[in-house]
């Protein structure tokens, strides 16, 4: 796809996997090494990985040798699975060190404490970059994965993220989220506009620019369209915006509130709260044929639907007991069950992409904190602990991380942590940001 010139939107880099390098013991090696790693478990130990500077094969752009190695290390560390080793402890000169299993002194790396080793070389010719990379299992003394990429040199970060994805996949059986983005709301004077940033908060771009209130951005399943709430036409209506073209369309413009959209996974339907019949109830909207049916109806406030990944159940907020609590609706049977019983203010449910958790924001001692709980109500865990207000949790598509808004350093900004409660990091910088929503992976494979 051709790179677009506009400043907003999602831009697609042209990175091509040229071929996979096959090692001597390659058949089955990667698969047999792969283990299921559940980093939500407190017993989880991070895997140490050595990433020497990449080796440059041409005299062009030698600075990338260290920048690419650093970016790869940061990316792998970000995933929560790996602990990159300090390269100052490495013994060999990365510009003369060997590239293949036969040339690598695995015993030395073992002694340094490395579980895995990444060895890469690259060549820049004009605008083009060719990157060759191998992941070695230090204990087995074998290559686990080998890849050769080509693309434009300005897209080197995207290329390194692709490599990080492959490494995560080879070791854990689950890709990373390095090609994902977050949508969020940023305060712009009296207005609030929708922005996008990379998975780590980098590269923020403004998506809407209508000077009104724009809220609650949510990605559809293939990452091509965001639904959001806007007052640009006066009242709160739900719109869709194509993140590649910027084209907008009205998704729900009924009388009263049209808020809290949530795409039903894999479909063009949305759950949303409408007050068209007087009370804020949750409806299933089919914008393509302009129909809507009621899913949750009561005298109470019913908002913030979040679908289970199979699209069969819906977590949502209702204040039918007098204060907001989270409920789960079975859409086919209409049966609803209360999920939260602790605390008097539980909102913003977010069903995890594997379906195994529901994150939410709960008020404890006057502060909002992020919790996770099993969809059956068991195993309640508190992930943040009273530093500012922590709200609007959203899962990374691999289920390893939760992003949320937090006022822990003053103005609200977007933060993320691993689902085991560690690895807290701030994603957005200056300004006031809120309502993050994590995109799906953009790449099909």
């Amino acid at each position: 796809m051709k790179r677009r010139s506009q400043r907003w939107g999602v831009q697609v880099a042209r990175i091509v996997l040229i071929f996979a390098i096959l090692g001597m013991f390659c058949v089955g090696t990667g698969w047999s090494q792969r283990i299921h790693i559940d980093i939500t478990q407190p017993s989880f130990q991070q895997i140490s990985i050595a990433i020497p500077d990449f080796r440059f094969l041409s005299s062009q752009s030698p600075q990338l040798a260290r920048e690419m190695a650093g970016t790869l290390g940061h990316s792998l560390e970000y995933s929560g699975v790996f602990r990159p080793m300090d390269p100052r402890g490495f013994l060999e000169d990365p510009q003369s060190m060997g590239m293949t299993a036969g040339e690598i002194r695995f015993n030395e790396w073992k002694r340094l404490g490395a579980d895995y080793l990444v060895r890469s070389s690259y060549e820049v010719r004009g605008e083009e970059l060719r990157l060759e990379a191998r992941l070695f299992d230090v204990f087995a003394g074998q290559m686990v994965v080998g890849r050769v990429y080509e693309g434009e040199s300005k897209d080197w970060k995207v290329m390194v993220h692709r490599l990080a994805d492959e490494i995560l996949y080879a070791v854990t059986g689950e890709r990373g989220v390095f090609d994902t983005k977050l949508a969020f709301v940023q305060v712009q004077g009296d207005a609030k506009e929708i922005f996008l940033c990379d998975f780590d908060g980098g590269n923020p771009v403004q998506l809407t620019d209508n000077g009104s209130l724009n809220l609650s951005p949510v990605w559809n399943s293939d990452g091509s369209e965001l639904a959001f709430v806007s007052y640009k036409d006066g009242a709160a209506k739900i719109y869709g915006i194509n993140v590649f073209s910027g084209n907008e369309r009205l998704l729900s413009g009924h009388r009263g509130l049209n808020i809290a959209p949530a795409w039903r996974p894999g479909t063009s339907q949305l759950a949303a709260t409408l007050s068209v019949s007087g009370s804020p109830d949750i409806y299933l909207l089919s914008p393509d044929d302009e129909t809507h049916e009621k899913l949750v109806q009561s005298w109470a406030i019913n908002v913030s639907p979040s679908w289970s990944p199979d699209g069969k159940r819906l977590a949502y907020v209702s204040n039918e007991t007098g204060n907001p609590q989270i409920y789960v609706l079975d859409v086919s049977t209409g049966e609803k069950r209360r999920l939260t019983f602790t605390g008097r203010y539980n909102t913003s449910p977010a069903w995890s992409p594997k379906g195994d958790w529901i994150a939410f924001s709960g008020s404890t001692e006057g502060r909002h904190n992020i919790f996770i709980v099993r969809p059956d109500g068991g195993d309640l865990r508190q992930l943040t602990h009273g530093e500012g207000d922590n709200e609007s949790p959203t899962w990374s598509p691999d289920g390893r991380m939760i992003a949320f808004s937090s006022t822990r350093q003053g103005d609200s900004s977007i933060w993320a942590l691993l689902t085991n409660g560690t690895g807290l990091r701030r994603l957005t910088g200056e300004g006031v940001q809120e309502m993050p929503h994590w995109s799906p992976r953009f790449r099909g494979n």
Binding site: D190, G234, V303, V317, M435
Partner: protein, 190 residues
């Protein structure tokens, strides 16, 4: 909001015309508010001062206002009407007794000027969740509207809109600020 924005738009246009003609600035014409500024106006700003003198005489007559003194009376009462909010308890849209007394004052005004239209804005404090507060703000505006309608005010002249926690007027993180934000605000359109 649409009415409010339309009002702002007309006003902005008026200001633009005044500027482009090169006439002396009309006394009391405030600076044009920025795009996206909330539709409500404080004392001496926007609707309260500069916009009314430009209104056609026929529109005053439609409101039943035929003299300058009646106009001044209306403007004074309209200002009070718009500046008197009603307030709510945390996570509540129940009308308190003081809130009902303020609504009773509004009913007196609306009976005197039955042709005016009112937008009732529901607002929340900044605690809590934005989406829940959008719904709660609508409930607050609806509570006020229902009270007015129950007292015989024409519901066709009343519009509700919720801004949830998106348009606070007090920015502290203390109960006094929160209390000021848990409000229904009334905007006149005539």
């Amino acid at each position: 909001m649409s009415r409010g924005f339309r009002g702002l738009g007309v006003f902005a246009l008026l200001a633009l015309v005044v500027m482009s003609v090169g006439a002396c600035a009309q006394k009391g014409v405030p600076p044009v508010p920025g795009v996206g500024e909330p539709a409500y106006s404080g004392v001496g700003e926007g609707i309260g001062a500069g916009a009314y003198p430009g209104m056609e005489d026929v529109r005053w007559r439609e409101l039943g206002i035929t003299s300058e003194s009646e106009k001044q009376e209306f403007l004074t009462k309209a200002e009070v009407f718009e500046n008197r909010n009603i307030y709510f308890d945390f996570d509540s849209y129940v009308l308190s007794e003081p809130a009902k007394r303020i609504l009773d004052e509004k009913i007196v005004f609306l009976r005197q000027y039955p042709r005016v239209r009112v937008t009732i804005e529901g607002h929340c404090d900044t605690r809590g969740t934005a989406e829940y507060n959008l719904a709660l703000g609508e409930r607050r505006a609806n509570s006020a509207m229902q009270y007015l309608v129950n007292s015989g005010i024409n519901g066709n002249h009343l519009t509700v809109i919720s801004y949830g926690e998106e348009r606070p007027v007090a920015f502290g993180n203390d109960e006094a600020s929160h209390a000021k934000n848990r409000r229904a605000h009334f905007v006149l359109d005539y």
